[in-house]
């Protein structure tokens, strides 16, 4: 790459090595759901930049487009219009397999309904992204063991998801999201299906991850939980209506 810079003497648009590109860089992003009869404009021009190591909460009323936005951030869906650069890479230019690789290596997704595969063990669920990545048997074994220790479930690895509590399932899901050391961890109402105390545990886990330097974006309906992040983005009718740091005083 850099060879070409020298030859034609032009900058190739990439930021200087000293300042890494934003993890999320969205410009004029729109999403229209075409359900045949009616077209729903879920996102109507989103401008969002998230730098590495940020810890962001997305809030807003139901139907405001939070999940739509997060799905696009996580490459689970594609925008109808606008530009989205993930870790410096324009997502619109990627084919299906490249998108799959991005989801595998750069993004860890945590869902409200856990989305663990019910027929395989917790261990095998966490191992899954590592299989897709092509990690060797030894690397997988060590990595999965370490992840289960991190989320405090080392003694539950061989259980099926159905044999775990909601909080435990969500911790398995977080371990899975962390498996390939993603640049970005996304969570869509991760505490939405949990009781208060399990929700607190999960939130603490996210705080620890943020402490360690992970970049996190999560959706929540709970204002108290949102205030435990460092930046709140408020969505309404498919637009960002408020975006600023959490004021510790309030």
């Amino acid at each position: 790459m850099n060879l070409f810079v020298g030859r034609n003497g032009k900058k190739n648009g990439q930021a200087a090595p000293s300042s890494p590109p934003p993890i999320i860089d969205m410009r004029g992003l729109r999403k229209v759901y075409d359900t045949g009869a009616i077209q729903v404009e879920a996102l109507r021009g989103i401008e969002l930049v998230v730098q590495p190591r940020e810890f962001v909460a997305i809030v807003g009323p139901s139907g405001s487009g939070k999940s739509t936005l997060l799905n696009i951030v996580g490459c689970l869906d594609v925008p109808s219009e606008g530009s989205y650069r993930l870790d410096g890479e324009e997502v619109a230019e990627l084919d299906l397999d490249e998108l799959a690789d991005i989801r595998n290596r750069k993004v860890g997704f945590v869902f409200q309904s856990f989305n663990l595969l019910p027929q395989i063990t917790a261990y095998e669920n966490v191992e899954m992204p590592l299989l897709f990545k092509g990690a060797g048997a030894r690397e997988r074994r060590e990595r999965v063991g370490w992840l289960f220790e991190q989320v405090g479930l080392a003694d539950r690895m061989r259980h099926k998801p159905t044999e775990l509590s909601g909080g435990q399932m969500q911790r398995v899901a977080i371990a899975r999201a962390l498996a390939c050391e993603p640049a970005l961890i996304l969570a869509d109402e991760p505490t939405g299906n949990l009781d208060t105390s399990s929700g607190q545990d999960i939130m603490s886990l996210f705080e620890q991850l943020a402490e360690k330097g992970h970049t996190l974006v999560l959706i929540t309906h709970d204002a108290a939980l949102a205030r435990r992040t460092r930046r709140i983005v408020r969505l309404q009718d498919g637009l960002i209506v408020e975006d600023g740091p959490v004021s510790r005083a309030a």
């Binding site: 689970l76 290596r105 989305n115 899975r176």
Partner: protein, 418 residues
């Protein structure tokens, strides 16, 4: 690439998880294959035996009996009974060029046929050496049919139907032994090989004792023929042969060659035409049942695969969300189809061939005519392969298309699936 290893691992994991469904699919494919293999194997065997049986009496032969005149002719009144004489056959040979083979036949019922202490009442027949070929009476190895010298020298020799032989001798060797026919000693020169006979005009061949025509006349003192059996040089000449018979015999016995009642004839070619049509009917019938069986089997397999993959759309979404490429989802499914098809088809064919062989064994040990008639089921690898590929293919398509749909929509959409 190293990706084949991954696909294999994912397939093994899925196979382990879905043991029951895999077993069901294997069973469905195996069952379908088995049904078709058996159906068509038996059908083929039955058809062969049917057409062989219809030729058991003799191929392309015409049996001719004297009738009674239906038309007054040359000064003779209507209703005159005709009789055939031994000299008729040489006359026919000399005057009808279309005639291929001919044999006179004389029958007497209720004769004492004895060997050792066993005595049975059996029909005896006097026939000419050509009779064996005409009537498809082939000697078992070690024996022979009547020949010209037997005829010429009025030898006291007998050719036994296989049933007569069994009754008199059991499993023992009969050729060379002496039997008594109405107290007169006869040497057994041959035994008829077992055959399937589906038509008869004087009892089944297996129950007959044959001797030279000359010997028969000598011991019975009879001069009239019961009938004679003829065959045209080629099947196409049969109608002309029949016409000539009316001409020549009409000339000799003074009846109108147009008088259909003067000679009674049984043309086995006519019978065979019917048989061929019945055989064709059986084939169409079995083909239809086979197609229906295949359809039902195919629907069954398709249903299992379709239901499962449809059900798994959300799980496929989860895998995609974790970074599975399309080939990691579809690859194991392809391997699975190949595996299910191979195992299910293999079991079906193995069991089918086993049953066919078991039946062949039972048949060889048993004398049941019904079993014999079922015939040797004939395994057809082509049919088996087609069945397996069709069932496997249907299962594969039924699973592949929903899965391909699931991987070509965005993971977000697949995850919304319930």
């Amino acid at each position: 690439m190293l990706r084949l290893g991954l696909v294999w691992k994912l397939f093994r994991r899925a196979a382990h998880i879905q043991r029951k469904r895999m077993a069901m699919t294997v069973a469905a494919i195996a069952w379908g294959t088995l049904s078709i293999v058996l159906l068509l194997s038996f059908g083929e065997g039955l058809k062969r035996n049917f057409s062989r049986g219809s030729r058991g009496l003799g191929e392309g032969i015409v049996v001719v009996w004297p009738g009674s005149t239906g038309i007054a002719y040359a000064g003779f009144p209507q209703g005159r009974n005709l009789t055939f004489m031994p000299a008729d056959v040489p006359l026919l040979r000399a005057s009808i060029p279309e005639l291929g083979l001919a044999s006179a036949e004389m029958i007497r019922w209720g004769n004492n046929v004895a060997y050792g202490r066993k005595t049975f009442s059996k029909p005896i027949k006097g026939v000419e050496p050509t009779y064996g070929e005409l009537r498809n009476q082939i000697p078992e190895p070690g024996g022979r049919f009547l020949n010209e010298r037997d005829e010429h020298e009025k030898r006291r020799v007998a050719f036994l139907g296989d049933n007569v032989k069994r009754e008199l001798f059991g499993e023992r060797e009969a050729v060379g032994e002496t039997i008594l026919i109405n107290q007169a000693p006869f040497t057994v020169i041959g035994v008829m090989a077992k055959k399937i006979q589906m038509g008869a005009y004087s009892g089944m061949d297996q129950d007959h004792v044959l001797m030279p025509l000359s010997t028969f006349r000598a011991i019975t003192g009879r001069t009239r023929l019961s009938d004679f059996v003829v065959r045209a040089r080629t099947p196409a000449e049969t109608p002309e042969l029949k016409r000539q018979l009316f001409e020549v015999l009409g000339g000799k016995y003074r009846f109108d060659p147009e008088d259909e009642r003067a000679l009674r004839m049984w043309d086995t070619l006519e019978t065979q035409k019917v048989t061929i049509n019945i055989g064709l009917g059986i084939e169409i019938f079995l083909g239809m049942i086979g197609a229906l069986t295949l359809l039902i089997g195919g629907v069954g397999v398709a249903n299992i695969m379709f239901a499962v993959v449809k059900h798994r759309t959300r799980e496929i979404g989860v895998q995609m969300a974790m970074g599975a490429r399309r080939s990691y989802v579809l690859g194991p499914l392809v391997v699975e189809s190949l595996f299910l098809t191979a195992v299910g088809g293999g079991i079906g064919v193995a069991v089918g061939v086993g049953v066919v062989q078991l039946l062949a064994l039972v048949q060889s040990k048993s004398n049941s005519d019904a079993l014999q008639f079922l015939g040797a089921p004939t395994f057809s690898p082509g049919v088996a392969l087609t069945t397996i590929l069709l069932l496997g293919g249907i299962g594969f398509l039924a699973g592949f298309f929903p899965a391909r749909r699931a991987v070509s929509i965005q993971p977000a959409a697949a995850l919304r699936y319930e």
